[in-house]
Symmetry: C2
Amino acid sequence: MGKKPTIRDVAQLAGVSVATASRVLGNPDYPVSARTQQKVRGAAAALDYVVNDAARSLRREASRDVALVIPNVSNPFYLQTMLGIDDVLLNNGCSMLLCNTMGDADREHRCLRQLYERQVRGVILSSVDENAAVVEKYRGKGMKFVMLDQRLTDDESVGIGFDSRAGARLATDHLIAQGHRSIAFATLPRTRWTRTEMFKGYRDALMSAELVFDEALVYEGLPDPEDERRGPELGAGQRIARAFLRAGRPATAILCVNDMLAIGVIQTLLESGVRVPQDVSVMGFDDIPLAEVYVPALTTVRYPAVETGRMAALMMLDSLNNRELDLRFSMRLNPQLVVRQSVAPPPKEK
Amino acid sequence: MGKKPTIRDVAQLAGVSVATASRVLGNPDYPVSARTQQKVRGAAAALDYVVNDAARSLRREASRDVALVIPNVSNPFYLQTMLGIDDVLLNNGCSMLLCNTMGDADREHRCLRQLYERQVRGVILSSVDENAAVVEKYRGKGMKFVMLDQRLTDDESVGIGFDSRAGARLATDHLIAQGHRSIAFATLPRTRWTRTEMFKGYRDALMSAELVFDEALVYEGLPDPEDERRGPELGAGQRIARAFLRAGRPATAILCVNDMLAIGVIQTLLESGVRVPQDVSVMGFDDIPLAEVYVPALTTVRYPAVETGRMAALMMLDSLNNRELDLRFSMRLNPQLVVRQSVAPPPKEK
DNA sequence: AGGCGGACAGAAAACGATTACTGCTCAAAA
DNA sequence: TTTTGAGCAGTAATCGTTTTCTGTCCGCCT
């Protein structure tokens, strides 16, 4: 009773060979007569047998779990994605390994290496690393990657993403339609693909409306190492808002690269007596659950994060089964404007 | 080049036996001469060797990863805890498996079983299950558990928790000190230990102040299945606030069982034209990062979540190394009041 | 009747590491 | 010189599955 039952015990109790037992328990495709199946399953149940996944992984040369490697979970947006992934994986008998890179490339490397050791074959990655060399290296060793909201320069990648450019465009258009003529762009460092895309969308919209792009209206909030626990967004938002005020409120609206950033911005504005949206409009991005509950409720662009997660997991599963769908980043979810209360027409000329 | 290098290859290249290679690479305690060590390490590096963790787990009968099983990650509070855990684990060469039970006992069972199959030996658990039978079962099979903010009835558990009772007491005392005489208690279903503790703390405080406890002032918000993606708290908070208003605002202050719940409550109050804190004070619990950035900033009780996570992970590691610290739930972190803006003295008698 | 093939089941060889043994060498002790 | 033992390295068994390769049995076709 001290020892776990092995497949040997099951086979013995069922009166069959281990091979047969293994086939019943782990290989649905191999033909086994119904009677034998019953005997084996009965024995397994009686012994309360569970497979030893280490042994299985060793033999099959691949484990059945999938890792999610992301910069930081502090952003609720990633949470949503995670929920989607988790759900799909659990229903497919896979476990989910979670790695936080904290936006640190070195940490990301360590994670990948560790995952490789652990025989993990599938990684859903939202990389912080510019160069694709590391990914390429492990891909060469047989790991499968699904890129999350990101495109690597090599263009070999399978991935799923949001059309951030169109999203930012949509957001900016909305601000313009409300009558804003000077619109600031608040972002974290534009090292991530999705952020440069958004920046492009922002400029696209300005251009179409024949507004001049003013470099001074781009606020790039540096993450503060101190903010590790609460995530970089809130702090960056606060700093951006302060800079914005210091500059004498040079715009009537601010487009933020995500909702958390927007919340940081709004809070600091309110604290300084600037009303949102009456004095300054602030637009978010992502539509996290909180957006609707914040006061003022955030006008934002919805990123279907749970769905994205689901999709990513499904793509991963397919990829692991070598059902290579050749969707090189062709998966693109469409943006959708969500109008709430943080945006209004600009104040009358003073 | 197609094949991964194994320890055999390393041994061969280094000109030693596999046993020696294994000892250099995986067993720091065994004495190996410096020269041999060098040769082996050199060879390993040259071949870009990484151990096959499946094989290792098989042989050692235990994997080196730790699972975190929690009801839902949507609550930022758990995120913080996760960060702490993740950090400790990564630095100890362990991976973290994450399982979301969605507050569903059945799902929790499935997770545990899957983890058992995967040879996971350590589980940090925030269970949704009342009875300890399942945990007991797996403990019998050699799994180690660290309970997170929870005590099982069996009292065998090692765990770490927060003194929620004292925390709630502290919070209630603060409200009383501000002059409140009727204080509502807003909670999710009190199935979790920590919530019943808080309830006790709330009553303790009322009693000490010789205020009558009124059952009608306890609002238990039922989670809505629809809320799976954004977590149960926000929705429950909104529903509680509506019930509170419908009842004709029967208290001047509301103590919420966590910050997200408080945010849900406040939002609905504000939306209905009730000012916070001028008309009604709302007190949170946990002190999530957002608490400080919300408007009004939440007066709350700080739960040192990251530290808790760190501790839990360390306890797990110790436990796995059989350095059984006999701390049956003796680890208790102390509460701390954080005064911000969502609480004020009650309005003058009308 | 003989041959053929499909449907099952078993024996045994991997998978890649760890670790009990065993054995060798060499210095110090007797 | 012999004995002892510490220090180091090698042999080979082992962990629990999966899977390839062989059969065996049985029914059906010619």
